[in-house]
Amino acid sequence: MGSVTREQRIASFETHPDRYHHWKLTIDGPVASLAMSVDPAFGQRADDYELKLNSYDMGVDIELHDAVERLRFEHPEVRAVVVTSAVARIFCAGANIKMLATSMHGFKVNFCKYTNETRLGIEDATRTAGQTWIAALNGTASGGGYELALACDEIYLIDDGNSAVSLPEVPLLGVLPGTGGLTRLVDKRKVRRDVADVFCTKAEGFRARDAKRMRLVDGSFSRSGWEAGVQQVAAAAVARSPARASQGVPLPPLEVVDSPTGRAYKYVTSVINAEDRVAHLTVRAPEGAAPGSAEALRAEGAQTWSLRAFRELEDALLHLRFNHAEIGVILLHTQGDPAAVLAHDAALADLAGDWFADEIRSFQGRVLRRIDNTARTFFALIEPGSCFVGTLFELVLAADRSYMLQDDDGAVSVQVTAASAGGFPMDTGATRLAVHFAGEPAKVGEVLAMGAPINAADAEEIGLVTFAPDEIDWDDEVRIAIEERASMSPDALTGMEQNLRFVGLETCDTKIFGRLSAWQNWIFQRPNAVGDSGALTLYGFPERPRFDWRRT
């Protein structure tokens, strides 16, 4: 009886607290409260599912992501964020099962990836913005609900004899808690792995006393002591995190011209060539002088190139991921004056320690990591008029391959700066430059020390770019490479790229994408989950699943 799955587009990844359907954001001095109150009727495919029991879909998570980012930029005064529920007795029931069961495979994968990135963003806010996220579970947190709590720095569960934390995915749905749950249990919270095994197979989970003993939560309060207890925890977090600023920077809506062939922003253009299954993603350099002081930077606010260009880049990437499944190869271009890029980079670097400058760089890092985690081939094309320098050179390093035109007068160049020295770590914690030169670590320092433009011949010689064809060969080389790439199995390419990109040691973050998500995506394809009698298919239906008992 499999459910009908449906194609889904995401019209917009932007929202604003004034328009939230599913969250209530209130700010009281240094403490923000983000209360989940999902409107069941406002699912993105309201005909297919109802968002009952504070369950979520993409729309709910877009709002959550918006809140995470806005708190950082618009409310730097906030030092503690309390995530809780405005629905009685339920904190959150996780991703909506009906939504998952009626979604296409690709959408499910992208949904999980996006939600994982949002939760990584929560951890990043705690770590780098001094905004400590606290999960105040005033009702049962199951599945993705508990996984959201796991992304917070501390978890408190109400001790009312009823409310529990649980990961029922394996026993009830035949899938994994794939939004970081398994990884964070053992790698982040260091729950003993045999204890975690018990927890992950017990559908109804554990209530406060046991949950605390098993380290599933950090503490609990009775119903009558709840408000005061949570307030105290938030106050303690505030006390640990020195005040940063009192005035934030508003994030206005992006200005974009949307057409069937792409999206055009001020600094970014995304052009879709559906026939060839190729997209061109271009980032343009800033015009005009870089802000010379913290005040000048603040005056530019969200319009400053370093922030605006990367907000646009993020939005373009998300649209490619969700709304252009057929695009296999994304070609990265840059355009403009390299000196202007370097000047804007330098302005931010000089202002290191200023909260807004730091936030912008941190944000650029998150956008670059979205590229690392995007399941499309990236080729960087370094041509005349390009500006792959400094921050934008990270695009070359993020790409699976790079092609640099070797022109006669040696005008095409790239430049590696301190931007590649540690400001933008990958999920592994390593820099893209160190990963690039994993086999020749000495080169990292050499390249960073050069401090000047590098032409194509040298770049190829050093190994900074993959190929450097001359003007005669360029067109054919590049065209054939793209056509060849676009003709290979998309699944094999995704697997290959993800394996080759993340050189080096694993972290919690890479395990979430590389181990947890990868297994989840395997399970999502298997009959035991999504076949006619699979557990996910039949969840909520009167029939019980029938498994193929053979293990691999």
Binding site: D160, G161, G540, F541, E543, R544
Partner: protein, 473 residues
């Protein structure tokens, strides 16, 4: 220290005397139960002789033995109905296979949850009713209250037996937790909402035993069909006791109705309150309140839990085996009125997912019959007033009708209209205060009854109504 004589202390038919493991578990739990009874059982009267029935065996000659007993000495026993030889699972995906004599690992958690939820209601109602002895309208009623209370205690024992005997460590922990939660407690409430409501007066008590204990009857009936045989047998025996609780409720309300009809007729303005009685409109409001609260106990109208419970063979329908032909129910649907775009439309719900609703409808039909009998009593008393059972959509706080207001007839209405009529449909604070004002102290003289209620038409166990059911001297 001498070994406890289990047969004498805890009458049972589960061979407790030779079950060392169960003895160990109960040795620890029994003192905790007695502590709980002391703290949360009936306030006062614990040292008094009460004319109670005790079950000393599961058979006709032993399930109702009447004698004077002091409540703390009541012998809370463990009884299962006789085993049906070669019993098969009657419904769901395992229909036709032998009934489980041990907990099937696959359904352990689900089963435990079912049992804990049922078990939690038993001590809860004792807690809710603990002060009522102070205001009893007669010794007869006082005795009935205590009978219900000790039997709810025994129902707790019955459920705890299953947890202790079949569920290992988590079963022991859940058994302990049943004595920790408290009805209405802010920090450790009972699991279900109706069991956290106050039961401050005797009209409430009679409505509660009519409507909320009747939910118990249907839940037990559905569990009596369970493929887990020890649960089925336990519940079958509990049902025999439950019948008395329902009797106490139904007859109690009926006696109030009869008296109210008399006092209404007596009063020149037709106002029973002027005559020191409860007016019929107020009784109707209490009925509306407790019927709707009890409906919530059946769970969501469209429920995947309900489907799972049925599919796994753990919880059937009322009289599943004898009443139905199709015990698989994968192809059938149930029509359920659902509110869509401003009106109610009938929607087909897969039958398994609608099992809560199927049970709820059985229950509502049964309640309808009770109301029919009340109305005949009103007729006999010469009153033209008729009690009317509200729609199952009225005043719901759980399930698909919780988000929209409905009139007592079940018509969708605006929440403004509902609020405007709230005081006509549901008891107000003033109504409750008035009812309580009639019941400020107990009537303890044998044969006497309070002014606001009729005497019972007969006594207990063939004794006359004026029998000294509770010895207060």
């Amino acid at each position: 220290m001498t070994a406890i004589d289990y047969e004498a202390r805890i009458p049972n038919n589960v061979d407790l005397a030779s079950d060392k493991r169960l003895q160990r578990a109960l040795e620890k739990w029994q003192p905790a139960f007695l502590d709980w009874w002391g703290a949360m059982g009936p306030e006062g009267f614990q040292g008094r002789d009460v004319f109670l029935r005790t079950a000393v065996s599961a058979h006709a000659d032993g399930w109702a033995v009447f004698d004077y007993v002091k409540m703390p000495d009541y012998r809370w026993g463990i009884f299962l109905s006789d085993r049906v030889p070669d019993r098969k699972i009657a419904f769901g995906d395992h229909a036709g296979l032998p009934a489980w004599q041990e907990v099937p690992g696959e359904y352990r958690n689900m089963l435990q949850r079912l049992i804990v939820t049922q078990a939690d209601t038993e001590p809860a109602s004792v807690e809710q009713q603990r002060y009522l002895g102070q205001t009893a309208p007669s010794l007869y009623d006082l005795r009935n209250l205590f009978q219900v209370n000790v039997e709810e205690g025994r129902h707790l024992w019955a459920m705890v037996y299953l947890l202790q005997a079949y569920f290992g460590r988590t079963g022991h922990e859940e058994a302990d937790a049943l004595l920790v939660r408290r009805s209405g407690d802010a920090d450790h409430p009972r699991i279900l909402d109706a069991f956290n409501q106050k039961c401050p007066d005797w009209l409430t008590f009679f409505c509660f035993t009519t409507f909320t204990d009747r939910d118990g009857k249907y839940q037990l009936g559905a569990l009596a069909e369970s493929g887990f045989d020890p649960l089925a047998r336990t519940c079958r025996f509990m049902l025999t006791e439950e019948a008395h609780h329902l009797f106490v409720g139904e007859k109690g309300v009926q006696r109030v109705l009869t008296r109210s009809a008399e006092l209404t007729a007596l009063d020149p303005n037709g106002d029973a309150r002027n005559q020191g009685g409860i007016d019929l409109d107020t009784i109707q409001k209490y009925v509306n309140y407790w019927f709707s609260y009890s409906l919530d106990l059946f769970g969501g109208e469209i429920s995947s839990n309900a489907a799972d419970f049925f599919a796994s063979g753990l919880k059937g329908r009322w009289k599943e085996e004898s009443k139905y032909e199709d015990h698989i129910c994968t192809d059938a649907v149930q029509m359920v009125p659902v509110y869509r775009d401003g009106r109610l439309v009938e929607e087909a719900v897969p039958l398994r997912n609608a099992m809560n609703e199927v049970l709820r409808q059985e229950y509502a039909d049964d309640c309808d019959k009770v109301v029919g009998r009340w109305n005949r009593a009103l007729e006999s008393a010469g009153s033209s007033f008729r009690i009317k059972l509200p729609s199952t959509r009225f005043h719901r706080r759980q399930g698909i009708y919780a988000d929209q207001a409905y009139s007592p007839d079940g018509e969708p209405i605006s929440s403004e209209l509902f609020e405007a009529n709230r005081s006509r449909w549901l008891p107000t604070d003033a109504d409750r205060a008035y009812v309580a004002s009639l019941m400020t102290r107990g009537v303890y003289e044998p044969g006497k009854v309070a002014h606001w209620i009729s005497p019972p038409d007969k006594g207990i166990d063939g004794r006359p109504a004026e029998f000294e059911y509770v010895r207060l001297t």
